[in-house]
């Protein structure tokens, strides 16, 4: 058992994956000597060499495209996209090549690639550094998409994603990198990667979140409890495939659901969850499924980002509204 930040847990998970399999290579901008702008790959090049931790030229399509070739040669590339808003130059390679090669080749070509993307806002950054592009990847058949929310999951999930034979977009809540500290038990049995999880049981309403909004929802549940309302919080962990089994089970008990994410609400993951829960739990619902998310505006300048990001008050307000129907 070690107390770690989320950043340190990812670093330890990457290190373990590299020790376990010498085909694992890390690629990206500044991931080597510097250890990444967030220091997630700190010390790895020193210990594993520059053939396995590769400082690449500054070209995201080039990074992902060459990682495809390495994967075809039998490697397991772990690609770091420096910030969410910089993934778009690689979008074509991700959507047209990474996602489709297995299908195109009738399963003969596997692309066991992990694309790590620090995502979300709240760090006071300039434009393009605070985005939540997950829906675009969830909407792409052939990709799997996961998001960690805490150090213990981060340590295990990064290893599981690397071990998977399919391409995985791995979303890391960057604002929690250095703030969230928790005990990580490296020898604890791992939950399957493709499962969501109830992180706080409750009986009056259900909150569903992933990545950075899980802690927002946990805080909301604490406050709600003081007011006599019991909220269940579910951490999705995996966005594609979506594991809604615990969500359906929860909604059948509570009858009320609020989905919380930083991404724009329109056609976001919350919209998909609302549709599926409506199909599965129609007769259990006491209120429409509500979404709390980023507004349908571009991400705002840092001084007003707190207005854009779902916070405790907006979550609790949505919960109140589900009781108003």
């Amino acid at each position: 058992m070690t107390t770690m930040t989320l950043a340190k847990a990812l670093n330890a998970g990457l290190r373990k994956a590299m020790e376990d399999d010498d085909k694992v290579v890390i690629m990206g901008e500044d991931v080597g000597t510097l250890g990444g702008v967030f220091r997630i790959t700190d010390g790895l090049q020193k210990d594993f060499g520059d053939a396995r931790v590769i400082d690449t030229p500054l070209a995201e399509s080039g990074i992902v495209g060459t990682a495809v070739g390495l994967a075809m040669r039998g490697y397991r590339p772990v690609v770091e996209i420096q910030f969410d808003g910089f993934v778009y130059p690689a979008y074509d390679q991700i959507v047209c090549q990474v996602a489709k090669l297995h299908f195109r080749s009738q399963g003969r070509v596997r692309i066991p690639m992990v694309i790590r993307i620090p995502f979300g806002g709240g760090i006071g950054a300039v434009e393009h550094h605070s985005e939540s592009p997950e829906a675009q990847f969830v909407h792409t058949p052939g990709l799997k998409v996961v998001a960690c929310s805490n150090p213990a999951d981060a340590y295990v999930m990064i290893q599981q994603a690397i071990h998977a034979d399919d391409p995985v977009v791995f979303l890391e809540p960057k604002r929690l990198y250095h703030s969230a500290k928790a005990d990580v038990d490296e020898s604890a049995p791992a939950a399957p990667l493709w499962q969501s999880r109830v992180v706080r049981p409750g009986s009056d309403a259900t909150l569903v979140a992933y990545g950075p909004t899980v802690s927002t929802c946990l805080d909301a549940a604490t406050v709600a409890a003081e007011e006599g309302r019991s909220l269940e919080v579910i951490d999705l962990r995996t966005l594609s495939p979506l594991d809604l089994v615990p969500v359906h089970e929860s909604v059948r008990r509570t009858g009320r659901l609020v989905v919380v994410h930083e991404a724009h609400v329109t056609l976001g993951v919350g919209a998909e969850i609302a549709a599926r829960v409506t199909e599965e739990c129609f007769h259990s619902l006491e209120a429409p499924v509500l979404r709390v998310g980023g507004f349908d505006t571009p991400y705002p300048p840092a001084r007003i980002e707190e207005a854009f990001l779902p916070d405790l008050d907006r979550v609790l307000d949505a919960v109140d509204r589900t009781f108003g129907f």
């Binding site: 290579v25 053939a51 690449t56 030229p57 070209a59 399509s61 080039g62 992902v64 495209g65 060459t66 990682a67 495809v68 070739g69 390495l70 994967a71 075809m72 040669r73 039998g74 490697y75 130059p89 074509d92 390679q93 047209c96 090549q97 090669l101 297995h102 299908f103 195109r104 080749s105 009738q106 399963g107 003969r108 070509v109 596997r110 066991p112 058949p141 052939g142 799997k144 998977a164 034979d165 399919d166 493709w194 594609s240 495939p241 979506l242 594991d243």
Partner: protein, 376 residues
């Protein structure tokens, strides 16, 4: 065009000297850098390859006209560039093609019927890339050049560059065209290959046309010179001369296998046919141009050379012609017999590890399909 401060601008493509070993008239000429001796058997082999590949192309075009293929991307005129590049490969080398590399596919032992299956809409590529060391056709222009570069970086990591063992040292070929040379991916591939000294040969068939856009719209300078700005050599070869294409590619591959890094070959050729069977080149180019390039035909010049030097007789030429007829007949027959895929299989192909979501969607489809069967 010399600016007093910035100096000279690059000139707009004065035709540089091509590496050529066989003139359009069928004269064997010599080149100081790429001279090579070719055995009679080798020369007859090139001829046979080119005739069969041209037949493959003509047959596929006819199948499209008869409604058996949805589309066909013609290689007519580019036989020498592709056979030269294909025959220069060592077995362990790996090739990343565009969607027009039927001649290279031929050299790598991919059955032409597999190419038909793709353009018929039966599948999206049904050969095993690992079996042939020949990747799947890539339709997004230039994307495969990055895959080739990454694959070459993998070869480096496997320690298969510069060992001195000709059966192990490995090079990778990235095929692309003049249109693709404008794509970001191709330029990024040049940057990565140069930065990591990857054993990759960039083989550009400059067939002068990107659908309707002439080469001049893509570049102000000869294409092979692009590599100089990225820090590796480039060379222009007569792409209608199978001997020169073979010799230059072979030397470039050897150089890459030895660890001397990437190289750009511009095979200067001409797309005699349309971009694909949906295209109408009479809307954008002059027949004079096509007539001019007919005089540079890759097969005719080799046939002249073989006959004039007594390296092939009527019997050999008739034998190849009969082989081409048999290939055409087989392609027609097997194309008609290609079975349609089953929609049921779609969900099995998306991932290595099928998700519960996809399994549920598949079951839903199966039930839907079965409901029709019950009625009928």
């Amino acid at each position: 065009m010399t600016d007093p401060v910035f100096g000279p601008a690059p000139e707009r493509a004065p035709d540089p000297e091509l590496v050529q070993l066989l003139t359009p008239e069928g004269e064997r000429v010599h080149h100081p850098g790429f001279d090579a001796d070719f055995s009679a058997e080798q020369l007859r082999g090139f001829y046979r390859d080119m005739v069969l590949v041209r037949r493959l192309d003509i047959e596929a075009t006819a199948l499209q006209r008869h409604g058996e293929l949805g589309l066909w991307a013609q290689l007519l005129g580019q036989e020498a560039a592709q056979i030269g590049a294909g025959r220069a490969l060592a077995p362990q080398d790996y090739v990343f093609p565009t969607y027009r590399e039927h001649g290279v596919a031929w050299c790598r032992g991919v059955d032409p019927v597999r190419l038909l299956a793709l353009f018929r809409g039966v599948d999206q590529g049904s050969w095993d890339p690992a079996e042939h060391n020949f990747g799947l056709y890539t339709i997004v222009i230039g994307a495969q050049t990055l895959h080739a570069t990454g694959y070459a970086m993998g070869v480096q990591r496997d320690g298969l560059v510069g060992t001195g063992d000709p059966e192990r040292d490995t090079a990778v070929v990235a095929h692309f065209g003049d249109g693709a040379s404008s794509q970001g991916d191709v330029n990024e591939a040049f940057v990565f290959a140069a930065s990591f000294n990857a054993p990759v040969v960039f083989f550009c068939q400059n067939n002068q046309w990107a659908i309707s856009e002439p080469f001049e719209r893509q570049s102000r300078i000869p294409l092979y010179r692009r590599s100089h700005g990225f820090g590796f050599p480039g060379i222009r070869v007569d792409g209608n001369d199978v001997l020169a294409t073979y010799a230059v590619t072979k030397a470039a591959l050897q150089r890459a296998r030895e660890g001397q890094g990437p190289i750009l070959i511009e095979a200067y050729t001409y797309r005699m046919g349309a971009h694909t069977t949906t295209d109408d080149p009479t809307r954008y180019r002059l027949s004079d141009d096509v007539e001019h390039w007919k005089l540079k035909d890759p097969i005719a010049r080799l046939e002249v050379y073989l006959r004039r030097n007594g390296l092939a007789d009527d019997d050999f030429l008739a034998e190849v012609a009969a082989e081409a007829d048999a290939l055409g007949e087989r392609m027609r027959r097997e194309c008609h017999a290609l079975p349609d895929p089953s929609p049921h299989d779609l969900w099995d192909l998306v991932h290595a590890e099928k998700t519960a979501e996809l399994a549920a969607q598949q079951a839903e489809y199966d039930a839907h399909a079965a409901s029709f069967e019950e009625v009928s």
